[in-house]
């Protein structure tokens, strides 16, 4: 029997050797203290808002506490023992990230606050010197605001244009649109999310990247929703920029990673000026530090970088293929059960191989906020609203949706509680 309280420390233990992967997923719930609490009227918490942020296991929480209790010092500067330990712990996360998403060169991994900051960094430090008047930045109709607004700011400044790859009624991108844009010869960047945060659609990144490579156009991928839920291999993806966030994959908030291909990174200007990013500073000029430090100005979020590393350890131990299998199983079950609820409409493809564990739906004419509020009584946390994807909401012609999104600690029982609570919504609204 597996000792789950110490999953990251049990080196002789392998997930694959277990007879039932599902049973071990059930067991790992014990690593998450928040899942032991109740909400509202003593209802067990059923947390189904993982696309927004995930819960944290003891291993991550403890690693942050351990840093502040035992190893707190600034990094990259002092020579004393404590600083050396802190630097080592901080830098080890960079290696873990590189290994986790299959990057050969650790200098290409930059710590940022999250995916939003990563995209803004690219729009600012790369976009401002590469995008000119009349140029085009291509994105898609199912992007999060964080992959639209930074490009709007850039486009406004440079008098450039933004074009959108449209989405079909199945929630998949119409890639013919991309051909049309690329044919203009004015496209400077194509940027898209690997998984929609609203419908869970997995983007056909290989096709997009190969079309762009053929046209010599760089690509940026927002991996915030994909990296936590499936094996991502940047060497195979062959994109040029890639971003993701720690807090959506068991890690702390306020920390994420941006990967940029070195040949491009070397052409980029700094994002923020300050300490740690410089080599030499004189009164009227300065030279920049080596990669990746040129892009990490100021004292970074050391504790949370260390926590991010613990989260990656935890996921690596389970294996991302097992995470994906677990979520496919849950998503299939949830879609089956939700489809039986009269008046409930699910958005996006039903093909499980093309979607992650994110399901958006509307329930008859009941507004998603009202759905969320009523099922909150049963301890269920789901998201309702536009999910920072108003362009997509316009495309779907709805003001909002209800969204459930799964992670490793969710179970089929969670889905059952959700279905029961939707029946309560039907009673209140006399559906």
């Amino acid at each position: 029997m597996l000792k789950l309280s110490s999953i990251t420390n049990t080196d002789d233990w392998s997930w694959k050797s277990l007879q039932s992967i599902e049973a071990s997923f059930e067991d790992l719930r014990r690593d998450f203290p928040i899942l032991q609490r109740t909400v509202r009227k003593n209802k067990p918490l059923v947390y189904l808002d993982n696309a927004s942020t995930t819960q944290k296991p003891n291993q991550v929480i403890d690693s942050i506490v351990d840093y502040y209790r035992n190893r707190n010092a600034n990094i990259h500067r002092a020579v004393y023992a404590l600083a050396e330990e802190a630097t080592e712990a901080y830098e080890s996360t960079r290696d873990k990230i590189a290994h986790f998403v299959n990057v050969q060169n650790r200098q290409e991994v930059i710590f940022v606050r999250g995916t939003t900051e990563a995209i803004n960094l690219v729009a600012y430090a790369w976009g401002r010197s590469h995008v000119k008047e009349g140029d085009i930045v291509v994105t898609t109709e199912y992007e999060h605001h964080s992959n639209i607004v930074p490009w709007q700011l850039l486009a406004r400044e440079k008098r450039a244009k933004i074009e959108y790859i449209r989405m079909d009624d199945n929630g998949e991108l119409i890639l013919d649109d991309l051909d049309r844009f690329l044919a203009t010869g004015r496209v400077k960047l194509v940027t898209f999310s690997l998984m929609s945060n609203v419908m869970g659609t997995i983007t056909d990144a290989r096709t997009i990247v190969s079309k762009c490579k053929a046209a010599d156009v760089p690509t940026m991928i927002d991996g915030a929703q994909a990296v936590p839920h499936m094996k991502v291999d940047l060497e195979k993806l062959e994109c040029d920029f890639f971003a993701f966030s720690g807090h959506k994959m068991l890690g702390p908030t306020g920390i994420g990673a941006l990967w940029v291909r070195k040949s491009i990174l070397e052409t980029m200007n700094p994002f923020h000026g300050g300490g740690d990013m410089i080599r030499e500073v004189h009164k009227y000029e300065a030279t920049w530090n080596d990669l990746p430090y040129k892009f990490e100005a100021g004292t970074p979020n050391i504790a949370d970088v260390i926590g991010f590393g613990a989260a990656i350890d935890y996921l690596a131990k389970i294996g991302m293929d097992n995470v994906r299998k677990h979520e496919i199983e849950l998503t299939r079950y949830a879609i089956e059960e939700l489809s039986k609820v009269k008046g409930l409409c699910i958005y996006g493809t039903r093909d499980i191989s093309k979607r992650g564990g994110v399901i958006s739906f509307n329930f008859a004419d009941v507004h998603p906020h009202d759905v969320a509020q009523i099922i909150d009584d049963e301890g269920i946390a789901v998201r309702s609203g536009h999910h920072c994807a108003q362009v997509l909401m316009e495309r779907l012609d709805v003001a909002a949706t209800s969204r459930v999104s799964f992670y490793i600690y969710n179970t089929k029982e969670d889905v059952d509680v959700l279905i029961d609570s939707l029946n309560k919504v039907a009673r209140v609204f006399k559906l």
Binding site: R40, K41, V366, H367, H369, D370, I374, H386, V428, F429
Partner: protein, 147 residues
């Protein structure tokens, strides 16, 4: 502790299903639109004003049950009232009509979006028809202190 579902009593559900004063006034004297960036609720209010009285008022837009019910109630309250009376409508006038005095903070904005739109429409109208320019600052202050 009351249950969340308790706020969805008969009146709220009925009003959201069959909103009152829903629609547009083509020849309105003033119109205003606002949205709640958090949830995407979006409300327009049109008013017809005769002799400093709201002779007709209609709203349209998209919103949750709370938002739609409160918009209905608010237009019922405002209809026929003098502009001064409309100026004095407070949030509790709306909330108490529907038993929503204890609504949780995140939903208060759903309940009061239409009141914000109504007040903004009123100030827009008053601003355009000011007789004394001195009143403008007072008006601006009052509008700024609404929320």
């Amino acid at each position: 502790m009351s249950s969340n579902a308790d706020i969805y009593h008969e009146m709220i559900v009925d009003y959201s299903r069959n909103p009152v004063n829903y629609g547009e006034i083509k020849d309105h004297d003033v119109t205003f639109h606002d949205a709640n960036p958090l949830c995407g609720d979006s409300i327009d209010i049109d008013m017809k004003i005769d002799e400093n009285r709201v002779s007709d008022i209609k709203f349209h837009g998209k919103g949750c049950a709370i938002c739609m019910a409160c918009s209905s109630i608010l237009t019922e309250i405002a209809k026929g009232k003098s502009l001064d009376e409309v100026r004095n409508i407070g949030k509790n006038d709306v909330l108490s009509e529907l038993g929503l005095e204890h609504l949780q903070a995140v939903r208060i904005k759903c309940a009061l979006l239409s009141l914000k739109v109504l007040k903004s429409a009123l100030y827009t109208y008053l601003g355009k028809h000011l007789k004394d320019a001195k009143d403008l600052d007072k008006l601006k202050d009052e509008a700024a202190n609404l929320y």
